[in-house]
Symmetry: C2
Subunit: 340 residues, 2 copies
């Protein structure tokens, strides 16, 4: 088969790769229905955290089970399945407490390269969640979104303790931040403030349930949030960027005793201890334990109660994956769907 490989900064190619095969008896092979480009794929695409080896890319996936390892018990050939970007056994004490992305056996799916027509998924029984039946095509983008971008936004909102009556601020208007709006709305937030200066993203945020848009950033952005909240700050803030500026904007926008959920992969961040001490906010973040949320999210998508597939504003054949990266890098697209 062919698949996406990153050779160097801004050099993604659709090239021959080995067909994936069962390695461990707990693996399955899926035939990809759709995959996509993640905001976090842009870091190595831009030359940050890049490997010096050609690297298979992609970690978001959904598709049909083609082949099943001999120790796989729950997942069956022919099922439509979604999984997270971390394979997990879903049974260790860490998984059982809801942190499957830090499973004692966690394996990053990125290493397998999901931007390809076939994918090996380790620990299949723990990792994958099947849909009740084969979904119609129009639900595939939404189901794909549950694999990472929606699951990550959901974790951000959960980590930020979003609840009915709360004022929620979202820092970062990428696909994860936009999905966090869906989550905050679903969790009953009273006020959802999206910090964005990009018209198309503001529009989608409003469609998903944002009640306010703040275009200012940094100290000015924080001042706007204080103005909106009687000087107190938000109850819950979701950080979906990963930079120092975004983290400090999130912490400073939150009231004492409030919660910051941070899901942007951290790049060059150092949190000043004394400011954090006197900020007195709850902090929780990291790679989202998407597996915890998958059954609920798949259900919400299948019942068409939410439509996270709208974050895909560009759809390309998989062989045009390089253009998919470029469009996101240049912010011409929020998120690129790739169809084999």
């Amino acid at each position: 088969m062919k698949g996406a490989v990153l050779y160097g900064p801004r050099d993604v190619r659709y090239v021959d790769r080995e067909d994936p095969k069962i390695v461990e008896p707990t693996d399955v092979i899926i035939r990809m229905s759709a995959t996509c480009v993640c905001g976090s794929d842009l870091w190595p695409f831009r030359g940050i955290d890049i490997s010096n080896q050609p690297t298979a890319m992609g970690h978001e996936y959904c598709g049909i089970v083609e082949e099943v390892g001999r120790e796989v018990k729950k997942i069956k050939r022919g099922q439509f399945v979604v999984g997270s970007f971390f394979a997990s056994d879903n049974s260790c004490p860490i998984c059982q407490s809801g942190y499957q992305s830090r499973c004692v056996q966690a394996k990053p799916l990125g290493a397998e390269g999901a931007q390809a027509p076939y994918l090996r998924v380790p620990l299949a029984d723990g990792t994958l969640v099947p849909t009740p039946e084969l979904p119609p095509n129009e639900l595939v983008p939404g189901l794909l979104a549950t694999s990472d971008v929606l699951g990550t936004g959901w974790f951000g909102a959960d980590a930020a303790a979003v609840a009915p009556g709360k004022t929620v601020v979202i820092v970062g208007d990428g696909a994860v931040g936009l999905c966090a709006v869906i989550a905050a709305k679903h969790m009953g937030a009273e006020r959802i403030v999206m910090m964005s200066r990009h018209t198309a993203r503001q529009q989608l945020a409003r469609e998903f349930g944002a009640t306010d848009i703040v275009t200012e950033r940094g100290d000015e952005g924080v001042a706007c949030i204080k103005d909106l909240t009687s000087g107190l700050g938000a109850h819950s803030t979701i950080e979906a960027v990963g930079t120092q500026e975004a983290m400090m904007q999130a912490i400073r926008s939150t009231r004492p005793g409030g919660h910051v959920g941070y899901v942007g992969v951290s790049h060059g961040v150092a949190l000043p201890g004394l400011e954090l001490f006197f900020a007195e906010v709850h902090l929780l973040g990291g790679p989202a334990p998407v597996r915890r949320f998958l059954p609920e999210l798949i259900d919400l998508v299948c019942q068409q109660k939410i439509n996270p597939g709208k974050v895909f504003d560009l759809e390309l054949p998989l062989e045009q994956v390089a253009e998919g990266y470029r469009a996101m890098d240049e912010r011409r697209a929020i998120k690129t769907l790739l169809v084999p």
Copy 2:
């Protein structure tokens, strides 16, 4: 009256100061039954964060109400009262959510200098909690402890989400860390691990309910905690020091999804974002909202269900306050009680 004043590094004197008087109509004046030296007083005593002005010292207090401002409604002359080191109105939205140390009107009591025979307490109705009746002398040390050291340890345990069945680690064997043992025991922790290499403190930790002592620090200490927890780390870790080493030891000792409550006043700490991201622990800390816990803690002390007064292993007349600082600085005493 006389009171403790810091003139420079290691130069605390008991000198003439103005008698405190009612300034705002919401103030009261209390006659001190006992006060003490805090671990955080040692930072300026050692020349760190020191003011270049002579500074009245002390922020822990309990005593008898002598004089009441005209707008004080609940607190009465003659009551025995305890308050926190932050005055708070106990009615603003931040107070109502349990973060009185960040009250919109919060005023640090340290500015008043509690190491003295009399003290002005602002926002008295919100700040002070009276005992049901005048306590016998032997309960005064325990009641004084609720004012900060116990309340702070309690907040650390609460912030670390200590609960029945949990394994709790405490980094820091000062009076706050030792009081955190009392809190963890009261909250039903199954295993309480004190990290300490000081025999007398280990002994008191065990008396308060610690089940294990770890003498190693840094990476070796973390490895010991992993060994004790099937490689996973603690559910709940309380940090009661405030240094980079202690914070990292606390974070690394905690399992993914676990909780770190940090109450050591932060000195030179910078938390590395990427490590924090992949640690995936809950973080909450800051100046303890002691007022939230005071009614319960006063009740527990008055009913003699807990005895936090044991952290005072040195009692001196107030005029010997300088020796009280020296004894703690040299670790000859855990905590010094001062009696006017």
